[in-house]
């Protein structure tokens, strides 16, 4: 019935020269079809400039990815190379055939080179050059038979104890044992597969640490962390203050602050100056991201603020435990950070604008924490340092650090024993 009524109405409208809905829409389309509005002068230049900027950003992104990939690849290569035994550090290594061992022992007994190997596999016979005066103290056995026995024992079984025969081999082993009592004999469980010859964790002076740092801290309920995926939806559909709320405002306020977890990447050199203490200094890059609304009577301005910082951390380490490459320590120090630049993207009454400006002043912070380093191979350790840091009020742009000066940070990285 309703359909019939509409049809009759439409027919009636047509008869008296009035338009039905379909006709009306069609007429509107026809009238608007040829309508064109010329853009403002300079409109293309704006688009061209944005395209160029985005192209540059894309290139920069690709470059950053390439550099990151290269750094990761170089780190892996470094780890693998060091894991392979560090051939450069063993220039005097020779690999005599097993049946020639005895003869070599005899020949070398009075020479500068002494057989010190205890390994069984071919290639594990090593001769290490030592100072001649060191070996003058060693009582070299005269018995060829004993040397043969030693050689046989060496070949047959790695872990087998050699009878109480005083040979250069035995003495050398004992000296090594005295230095690292449990490292040589005990098999340990490393994170990575290791070969017998790289079991011993290198005890060195300088350490190079490559690390990344996260601060997933929420010490205050006024601070809200958000995930990356949240940002886009926040920007597209964020609720702005109502007209009534705006009317109640006396001045511009910043509200609805949200932060992404700060991320740092860095490298630092650690110099042990005793068995217990070490000092470290380095360079790190930190990225801070904040999203907030500037609300005033007249407008609501959503802002995305990205801050880039370069910092120099100086830390003191105190070893609590250090055995078989496993280290536990406490650390504390100070970090000085200089803001490189602040990139601001804001939406003013629905229109997007961007701005880049410098960051004045220095951000100072102090930190303290505990840490643990696990051996990966002879030259590499994986470390994890949970740290509490306090950021001083140095008049820096809004970030999670200004909203919540006390931060919990988790540093994870590799230490290379150089």
């Amino acid at each position: 019935m309703i359909g019939d009524k509409k049809e009759i109405d439409n027919l009636f409208n047509k008869e008296v020269g009035k338009l039905d809905n379909i006709e009306f829409d069609k007429r509107v389309r026809e009238i608007l079809e040829g309508h064109e509005v010329m853009p403002d002068a300079g409109s293309w230049e704006r688009i061209a400039s944005s395209l160029a900027q985005r192209r540059r950003a894309k290139l920069l992104f690709i470059r950053r990815i390439s550099i990151t990939t290269a750094v990761v690849a170089a780190s892996i290569v470094l780890v693998l190379y060091l894991d392979s035994g560090g051939d450069i550090s063993r220039p005097d290594t020779i690999q005599p055939e097993p049946d020639k061992v005895v003869a070599e022992v005899k020949e070398n007994a009075s020479d500068e080179t002494v057989i010190v190997t205890g390994e069984t596999e071919p290639g594990l016979f090593e001769s290490v050059k030592k100072e001649k005066k060191t070996y003058e103290k060693i009582k070299v056995t005269e018995s060829t038979r004993k040397e043969e026995l030693i050689a046989e024992d060496i070949i047959v079984e790695e872990e087998r104890e050699i009878p109480d025969v005083k040979t250069p081999l035995k003495i050398e082993e004992k000296k090594e044992e005295a230095k690292t009592p449990s490292v040589e004999k005990k098999k340990r469980d490393y994170l990575f597969e290791i070969t017998p010859r790289n079991r011993r964790v290198k005890k060195s002076g300088t350490l190079l640490a490559l690390s990344t740092n996260f601060s997933p801290s929420m010490a205050s309920s006024s601070v809200t962390l958000m995930s990356l995926s949240q940002i886009k939806s926040e920007l597209l559909y964020s609720n702005v203050a109502s007209t009534i709320q705006k009317g109640q405002l006396s001045q511009e306020v910043v509200s609805n602050k949200k932060f992404l977890m700060p991320i740092s990447l860095g490298a630092q050199l650690q110099f042990p100056f005793s068995d217990l203490f070490a000092i470290a200094a380095g360079l790190n890059y930190t990225l801070l991201f904040t999203h907030y609304d500037d609300i005033s009577r007249s407008e609501t301005r959503e802002t995305e603020l990205t801050l880039h910082y370069l910092g120099i951390p100086v830390n003191l380490y105190y070893n609590l435990f250090n055995r078989d490459g496993l280290k536990l320590y406490v650390n504390g120090g100070v970090t000085m950070e200089k803001g490189l630049f602040a990139y601001k993207k804001y939406f003013e009454n629905g229109r997007r604008k961007t701005d880049t400006e410098g960051i004045e002043g220095i951000q100072w912070s102090v930190n303290a924490g505990v840490g643990a380093e696990f051996p990966v191979n002879k030259y590499t350790g994986l470390y994890f340092d949970p740290v509490v840091a306090y950021y001083f009020d140095n008049d820096q742009p809004l970030s999670i650090r200004t909203s919540q000066p006390l931060q919990f940070k988790f540093e994870l990285g590799f230490r290379f024993h150089l």
Partner: protein, 183 residues
């Protein structure tokens, strides 16, 4: 506007140039379509300044996503869709698509004389559409001009189909009233 020497024989060649990021091709494409696309933007936001921003963002999207155009339909249709989506994104962002008390504003039914529609200029009609309440304008634009179905509009604007129909009906009446319609 500066007139460029047209180095492109046809649309296919022009699009190929744009795909390769050729600035001349991009500018030619802009000059060819920007007046039409600015009209689309103005129909949705009703204000030149915002329409200019949408035009800017729309062209950035067009140049960055031009690889996704598969030539199955007309390029102008594809471009228009990009601009409509960009405009809708702007409107969603400002929360202006939450249709408020506008719904009660028009209750009387109108029809419009054929002769009135014949006399009105495109600029006058554009002005009227621009001054429509935003909810009416958006649904009217999508349905009457772009040819979206109520189902598509409901999905796009996150409203139900009944609301879309109701908005359209009231939008028509609003427009007809201002076009000098009578009962």
């Amino acid at each position: 506007m500066t007139t460029l020497k047209r180095d492109f024989l046809n649309e296919k060649e022009l699009l190929e140039g744009c795909r390769k990021g050729d600035p001349i091709a991009q500018r030619t494409l802009y000059e060819t379509y920007s007046p039409k696309m600015l009209t689309v933007c103005m129909r949705y936001v009703g204000e030149r300044e915002r329409a200019r921003d949408i035009l800017h963002d729309g062209f950035i999207t067009v140049f960055e996503k031009i690889d996704t155009y598969n030539a199955s339909g007309s390029f102008e249709g594809w471009m228009r869709r990009v601009f409509v989506n960009t405009a809708l994104m702007y409107l969603r962002k400002g929360d202006v698509l939450k249709f408020s008390g506008e719904l009660d504003a028009v209750e009387r039914e109108y029809s419009v004389e054929n002769t009135v529609m014949g006399n009105i200029s495109s600029s006058e009609l554009m002005r009227l559409i621009a001054s429509m309440p935003i909810g009416f304008r958006t649904v009217f634009n999508l349905y009457a001009i772009e040819g979206y179905s109520h189902q598509e509009i409901a999905k796009e604007l996150k409203i139900n189909e009944v609301s879309s129909r109701s908005q359209l009906s009231r939008a028509r009446k609003w427009l007809q009233e201002r076009l000098g319609g009578d009962r």
